[in-house]
Amino acid sequence: MGFEKFGKEGYVSQTKITPMLSYLKKNQLPATVCQKCKRTWFPPRADCPNCKSNITEWTTIDGTCRLVTFTEVHFAPPQFQSDTPYFLGVAELKGGFRVFAPISGKISRDMLKPGRQMVLRPTTPTADHTYYLLEEL
């Protein structure tokens, strides 16, 4: 399947890191590892900007994280308008990786604060969509 299945509404269908989707479907958080400098990249990338090498090695990472910031979207692009209001957040995982992800609607806004411990979990709500989202620990 193409990468347009990543997220709620994907825009990019063709990429070298499409294998990411099969990890998410197995409930794993995938990252890539540069064979040359051994650096791990999340979100995964196919090219190491340090070594200029092509990356083909995959690994998985831990979803424990801290919220950096968030917003609650009330006015959305047309294809998302029926989901409003919804949360978006940035969180920092172990190893310093940062992620931009939706935050579970089960949390109330008062509970969200920068610095709060959360967990990034893979989710596959439909056969056509797989991604990750931030949930309560």
Partner: protein
């Protein structure tokens, strides 16, 4: 860099300009700038057309605009850096002039946004961020800036009321600017009671899409002295980039690294410090942005931006008057025209022609323009 000056500026009325096409808006600003410089088209060597071209129905708009201005066969091309397009246009013109490739260049910032159906505008807005990693979750322009607001509120105790003060100040100045989209002052309660767009930003915390154009006539030192009694000198040019993805940026997300970096470069080049700035135009795409800008430009210490506002230090009569033409919040934000509009305001200020919004004895002006969601930062210093 060789000596470069602005010898003429022109500005169209900003707003919902259903009376004019893209090329006609460009013409309004160009004609005004030529009149201001007291020159004819034959004196212009090249035009730089600055717009975020994804808003334009016309593909490669420099082609049609250069034609409509009557400038063929002189060189023309588009400059695009989202909301900072025409600030980067001034930088590009300065480089072309400095390198002696051209003597006099017209920088034409223009945008036509209100003609697009709302659906299309919202769809475009949804792709303002990284389309691979962030847009698939329903991002918007306000959402990105709202996330900076949340972080700043949490770290420094900045409040929604603090942010509302920016909109109240800028709308009050907009009421004195005949080219502004919004000419009516608003109250703190109006901002606080306006509908939520992306928490914590409400409708009146946000600038509006608009149509409009602004034009700068830029010349080398020799021509500027010959053609103008009051050239305004380009003294400092700073431009920096940040990752486009928000997750790619470091730190607590309470400041824009692009602004800090661009400001350092521009201050060093102009040999000034933040306290030397007499009047500033900053990128208030959202109320929170102006507060962050105070801190990033060194007008206030980190976390103290809101205090500066409360102490009225960025109003006329204060330490550093900011956005006394109304800013993006009152003028509207025709993306490609905004950078040149800021520069035009500073030129009027430095020449002492800013009327009711004149800052007494303004000699040093600073313009700060952020592109998109903070991936481009442009700071320009002008001197008398």
């Amino acid at each position: 860099m060789g000596k470069v000056a602005i010898i003429g500026v022109g500005h169209s009325k900003f707003g919902k300009r259903s009376d004019a096409s893209l090329r006609e808006l460009a013409f309004e600003a160009y004609r005004a700038a030529l009149g201001d410089a007291e020159i004819e088209s034959k004196t212009i060597d090249a035009s730089l057309v600055c717009s975020a071209t994804h808003y334009d129905k016309q593909r490669s708009p420099a082609g049609v605009i250069n034609e409509y201005l009557g400038l063929n066969p002189k060189p023309t091309f588009n400059v695009e850096a989202a909301c900072a397009s025409s600030a980067v246009g001034l930088r590009t013109a300065s480089a072309l002039i400095s390198s002696k490739l051209h003597d006099i260049v017209a920088v034409v910032g223009v945008q036509k946004m209100t003609e697009l159906p709302n659906e299309e505008i919202q769809e475009l807005m949804g792709r303002a961020g990284d389309v691979m990693w962030e847009s698939p979750f329903g991002t918007t322009m306000p959402a990105y800036y709202a996330m900076y607001a949340t972080a700043h509120m949490s770290r420094y105790g900045t409040t929604e009321e603090d942010m509302a003060r920016v909109s109240v100040k800028n709308r009050a100045y907009g009421a004195k600017n005949p080219d502004a989209m919004f000419q009516k002052p608003i109250l703190l309660e109006d901002v606080l009671n306006s509908r939520m767009v992306s928490y914590p930003l409400k409708l009146f915390d946000c600038c509006a899409n608009a149509d409009g154009a602004a034009c700068l006539i830029v010349a080398n030192g020799e021509k500027a002295r010959k053609l103008s009694d009051s050239p305004v000198w380009v003294a400092g040019l700073g431009l920096a980039s940040s990752p486009m993805s928000l997750a790619g940026r470091n730190g607590p997300l309470t400041s824009f690294e692009v602004s800090k970096k661009a400001a350092r470069t521009a201050y060093a080049m102009a040999r000034i410090r933040p306290e030397d700035v007499d009047v500033a135009e900053v990128h208030d795409s959202f109320s929170i942005t102006e507060i962050l800008n105070y801190e990033d430009l060194g007008f206030a210490k980190p976390g103290r931006g809101a205090k500066l506002l409360k102490d009225h230090e960025t109003e006329l009569g204060g330490k550093t008057p900011v956005n006394v033409d109304g800013g993006l919040i009152a003028k509207g934000h025709p993306v490609g025209a905004t950078g040149a509009s800021q520069i035009a305001t500073l030129v009027h200020q430095i020449r002492g022609e800013a009327g009711k919004s004149q800052v007494d004895g303004a000699k040093v002006g600073l313009a700060q323009n952020i592109g998109g969601i903070g991936m481009y930062g442009c700071v320009t210093v002008l001197k008398a």
